[in-house]
């Protein structure tokens, strides 16, 4: 299940790959300009992804026992 770590590629693709398409001010979401909202949303998604990776990464258990 070490392959779960491949999920960590997503923040790079999403956050940066999206930039050319979301580089605008409107619409405002949660009070923020769209570009800023996009980045903030990806920061939160990143935390969720890291939590999923942590939960399923066998290396975490190995190091706990060590």
């Amino acid at each position: 299940m070490k392959s779960i770590r491949w999920l960590m590629v997503l923040p790079f693709l999403g956050m940066l790959g999206g930039i050319p398409f979301v580089n605008r001010v409107e619409p405002y979401v949660l009070g923020m300009p769209f570009l800023l909202f996009w980045l903030v949303a990806w920061v939160i998604v990143t935390s969720v992804i890291m939590a999923i990776v942590y939960r399923f990464d066998p290396a975490v258990k190995e190091d706990e026992q060590a």
């Binding site: 790079f12 580089n23 001010v25 009070g31 980045l39 920061v43 939160i44 990143t46 935390s47 975490v60």
Partner: protein, 490 residues
């Protein structure tokens, strides 16, 4: 004496007390002093790592960039987040290797991995050359914050001397334990101050965050997105990638990895830290609010946006709390920098040339070097002039040059030789120096390329040169040439 001044001094004394009591019950050998005896849990490591983001530069510069540059400021949120993703993968490997070999500094890691003390010397020197201007930047920020927040009753010079004195004392006595304890106060302060200002100010002046952004958009259409040229989308993406790679290459950040007590500390932190750095959002909100409320701050004066707006809005005691938070954002990274720089110079430069020095002598010398480095930084802070500005611009790019040799050394079978690593770092550093001193951009170096390429962060060029040289030189079989020559002599 006004209320602001009393509050700033109270916090200074409190953090000095915390910094000093942190020593209690510890035998301060080099391992305790510089990496906390490798015993820090999730919270301390979290605070030390988070401390690297909330420096005076983010406090003043984050709001200053929002005020002066707009949309491009958002890169700060993106690079931290991606650096933490990388940390999940890289940091446990570094930590395990460091524990196994009892490493104390960043340079130790390179020297050990490549089995070359001379490579260690080079890495240490690159680190120190990047660290000192970074410390100078913190000190200048400290001077600005305290003198503004004290309504001019303390001059920047006096503020800087007082701050440096406090940091030097607790670093010499408590080492990284002092930094960790003051980081606790600092993070609570900055959290409260940033969230409060970032919400209160837009509501106070515009009745909300969206109305504030709408007013800015009306006054400066497109300011809240990236421009088509210059700091465009391709600038954004390349800058975020470069800074995310360089993030952990700062010697004091790298060194704080060793202080953890287990590898899972980093994996847990990689979940929380991305969200935690969203506190920076509120710092940005303050900068955007200031645009129409304290207009006319040009150039580096933009960094004063947060303080000017706060002074205009609040009573002195609130300004005092903001000043105290600002003071701490300089002191915590400042203490880590002082400690790392002296450890590097003593352990990775001095001890290489004077191998007879005992561990005890090295530990003692490292502590005595702290005030020396502090004085050198003070000298540059007061009379640095243009040299220090050039070094500052180079700092981040310089440490990023350590990345190729570092990341390749994490492979199970590393094909990079010590000669390759050495030559690559040198070539990268030379390229950074040339680019900075000649004020080049990708556009000036390659004017015929399309705009998308021209806007790329010029640091990419140095990293490509570095990687190419590292790989090419590694393919030259130095060892076997010498072995052949020896055979022939025999």
């Amino acid at each position: 004496m006004n209320a602001a001044l009393i509050i700033i001094f109270a916090f200074l004394l409190f953090s000095l007390y915390l910094g000093l009591q942190a020593r209690r019950g510890k035998d301060m050998n080099l391992e305790q002093w510089t990496v906390g005896g490798r015993g820090f849990g999730t919270i301390f490591v979290f605070l030390l790592m988070a401390g690297e983001i909330y420096t005076t530069f983010t406090f003043l510069g984050g709001s200053g960039w929002a005020y002066g540059k707009g949309g491009p400021t958002f890169y700060i949120i993106a690079y931290g987040c991606l650096a933490y993703v990388l940390s999940y993968w890289m940091l446990p490997k570094v930590w395990k290797y460091a524990k196994e070999h009892r490493l104390m500094s960043q340079s130790d890691f390179f020297a050990r991995k490549y089995d070359s003390p001379m490579l260690g010397v080079l890495v240490a020197l690159v680190g120190v050359v990047a660290l000192i201007p970074y410390l100078v930047l913190q000190l200048k920020g400290l001077g600005i914050i305290v003198s503004e927040a004290s309504y001019g009753t303390i001059s920047p010079t006096a503020a800087i001397w007082i701050g440096v004195l406090a940091v030097t004392i607790y670093v010499m006595i408590s080492g990284i334990h002092g930094s960790a304890w003051t980081a606790v106060v600092k993070d609570i302060m900055i959290l409260v101050v940033a969230v409060f200002l970032g919400i209160y100010l837009p509501f106070h002046y515009y009745g909300g965050i969206q109305p504030m952004f709408e007013a800015v958009e009306q006054a400066k259409p497109g300011f809240l997105a990236l421009p088509d040229k210059g700091m465009s989308a391709s600038w954004f993406i390349s800058t975020v990638l470069l800074t995310a790679l360089g993030f952990y290459m700062w010697p004091h950040t790298f060194g704080s990895i060793y202080s953890a007590k287990s590898a899972n500390v980093f994996r847990k932190n990689a979940i929380i830290l991305p969200i935690y750095q969203l506190v920076l959002l509120f710092v940005f909100f303050v900068g955007f609010t200031a645009i129409l409320q304290v207009p006319g701050l040009e150039g580096s004066d933009a960094d004063l946006a947060l303080l000017k707006l706060s002074i205009q809005t609040f009573d002195p005691w609130v300004v005092g709390v903001i000043g105290a938070a600002g003071l701490l954002t300089a002191m915590v990274p400042g203490s880590m920098i002082l400690m790392s720089a002296s450890t590097l110079l003593v352990k990775n430069v001095y001890q290489v040339f004077v191998p007879s020095a005992t561990d005890e002598q090295v530990a003692k010398l490292a502590k005595y070097l702290v005030p020396v480095i502090a004085l050198v930084s003070l000298y540059f802070t007061f009379r640095g002039g243009d040299t220090i500005v050039a070094l500052l611009l180079m700092g981040y790019s310089l440490v990023t040059q350590l990345f190729p040799a570092f990341v390749l050394s994490l492979q199970k079978q590393n094909f990079v030789t010590k000669q390759g690593a050495f030559a690559g770092i040198l070539a990268g550093v030379a390229t950074v120096a040339y680019i900075t001193l000649s004020d080049s951009s990708v556009g000036t170096l390659f004017p015929s390329l399309p705009q998308v390429v021209q806007d790329l962060n010029v640091g990419i060029v140095a990293l490509i040169v570095n990687t190419a040289v590292t790989i090419t030189v590694s393919l030259i079989p130095f060892r076997s040439v010498r072995a052949d020559a020896e055979k022939r002599v025999v």
